[in-house]
């Protein structure tokens, strides 16, 4: 979908719950996510790359839905219209020595 990225959001209106921690692994707050959207990060991927929310040990299992909802609200879009971040192997953290093992267990 073609997206013009120079929209004007007007002045930032602080919300009472801007301090709420949304991504607990990386300690990212709701206010930081809202600000990132206004800085041009218009989807889950860009917000994650900028703030690291969803990049910690749990890889977003806990916060992915919340992050998406905050971005959607800031953009005035229904949350389902935003794509989820890509899940990547390994699905659980795995030691290097396990990956390195060529002989099988």
């Amino acid at each position: 979908m073609t997206l013009e990225r120079n929209r004007d959001f007007g002045d930032y209106v602080p919300a009472p719950d801007d301090d709420l921690v949304i991504c607990r692994c990386e300690e990212v707050t709701k206010g930081e996510i809202r600000q990132a959207v206004r800085d041009g990060m218009f989807n889950v991927h860009e917000v994650r790359r900028l703030l690291r929310c969803g990049m910690g040990l749990c890889q977003g299992r806990t916060c992915a839905k919340l992050v998406k909802a905050i971005i959607a609200r800031e953009l005035n879009l229904p949350a389902p219209s935003l794509l989820d971040a890509t899940a990547r192997a390994p699905m659980r953290p795995v030691e290097m020595k396990v990956f390195a093992n060529e002989k099988g267990l």
Partner: protein, 375 residues
């Protein structure tokens, strides 16, 4: 619908957005078209973050050195976003006499180009990085190399360019360029929108080839799939960028503590170009490389693996310039897997090329017409 700007940039990677930033800063009207729905979905957000001068081709070395001296040190401040540039030096490790020979060759080449780089023995390498395997017998050392966060660097250029008024359109794939009376004047996207320009810069990675072909230009590039991984956070261990004589792996510890390691396994040219995917051997091979040099890391957990395409040129250095055949067009592609470290300076040079300014550095070695057939 037709829309006009002084400069149209095709591709919003680190280099396209750096060019947009340097143009917007000069108050030139610029539009950036990006095929993906996401900014920075190409190599620019998928790379290992190496900001390396050592081991560069003699043609590229002046660019890398210019960037390290003049652009990287102030980049976070200039762009208003921390890009985690860390000038921790580069250690390239060897375990055999044959390895040391390779490293000596690289070192001699870079010293001839004026870079502060030298060979060191195991003892000195171990002082610089205490976690090395005892199998290491020597290394090359470049104290002014380093690394930065590629995700943040790419978004920082985008964010700053956008703030200065650069217009960005994502989900806009350029299908073709159109010539009018001998000049390239227009790009048409997949949905039929036409974008007119005074000058266009094609910085679309490997896909630049397809776009350039629509006006009869040919760049000899090959797509290679490179794989990479990131570990869980670890306490601060070292600040250097690491590599080996055999390029079995390279990487660094990021600001927040995780290690980012890439590597090669030998099958890179055989992946079918398209979506990014992972091979069954990539992460395993890289882990064996890492453990062979850093046994202490073997219990560290990997949290994520991914891959990206590189646009490898026949002679492994970029194409940057304004081909005579196509007035109105500037090319910036074929960065051959080492374009991140020079992304700020490449953006600056492309901005200068696109506006007919004198370039900060000589770019004649990167010209489009340098390629000659075998016979």
């Amino acid at each position: 619908m037709s829309e006009t700007s002084d400069v149209l940039i095709i591709g919003a990677g680190a280099i396209g957005s750096a060019a947009a930033y340097y143009l917007a800063k000069r108050k030139i009207s610029v539009t950036v078209l990006e095929k993906s729905e996401y900014i920075g979905n190409g190599g620019s957000s998928r790379n290992g973050g190496g900001v390396r001068q050592s081991g560069r081709h003699s043609a590229e070395l002046p660019l890398a050195m210019y960037g390290v001296k003049n652009l990287w040190p102030n980049l976070s401040q200039e762009l208003g976003l921390e890009v985690e540039y860390c000038q921790g030096g580069n250690l390239r490790l060897g375990k055999t006499e044959a390895h040391l020979k390779i490293l000596q060759g690289l070192t001699a080449n870079c010293v001839a180009g004026g870079l502060d780089m030298r060979m060191i023995d195991y003892r000195e390498a171990k002082e610089i990085c205490p976690y090395l395997s005892e199998e290491v017998i020597g290394a090359s050392w470049c104290p002014t190399d380093g690394h930065a966060n590629p995700l943040l660097t790419t978004l920082a250029f985008y964010r700053a360019a956008r703030k200065l008024g650069a217009r960005y359109v994502s989900g806009a794939e350029v299908d073709k360029l159109v010539k009018n009376k001998g000049r390239v004047t227009k790009a048409i996207t997949a949905d039929g929108t036409e974008y007119e320009f005074g000058q266009a810069i094609v910085v679309a990675g490997y896909d630049s080839g397809k776009i350039l072909a629509t006006v009869g230009l040919e760049v000899p590039m090959m797509p290679l799939l490179m794989e990479i991984l990131v570990t869980e956070d670890a306490p601060r261990m070292f600040t250097q960028m690491l590599g080996t004589a055999m390029a079995d792996f390279y990487g660094h510890q990021s600001t927040h503590g995780s290690f980012v390691f890439g590597g090669t396994h030998g099958f890179e040219p055989y992946a079918e170009y398209g979506e990014t995917k992972l091979t069954s051997v990539g992460a395993s091979s890289t882990c064996r490389g890492i453990i062979g040099y850093f046994p202490v890391l073997s219990d560290l957990k990997i949290v994520r693996t991914w891959s990206g395409w590189i646009d490898d040129c026949a002679d492994h250095i970029p194409v940057m310039g304004n081909p005579k055949e196509t007035p109105g067009l500037t090319i910036g592609c074929a960065f051959s897997g080492h374009g991140f470290g020079i992304s700020p300076v490449a953006g600056l040079l492309l901005a200068q090329l696109a506006t007919g300014q004198e370039t900060a550095l000589d770019v004649s070695r990167f010209s489009y017409d340098r390629f000659r057939a075998k016979v």
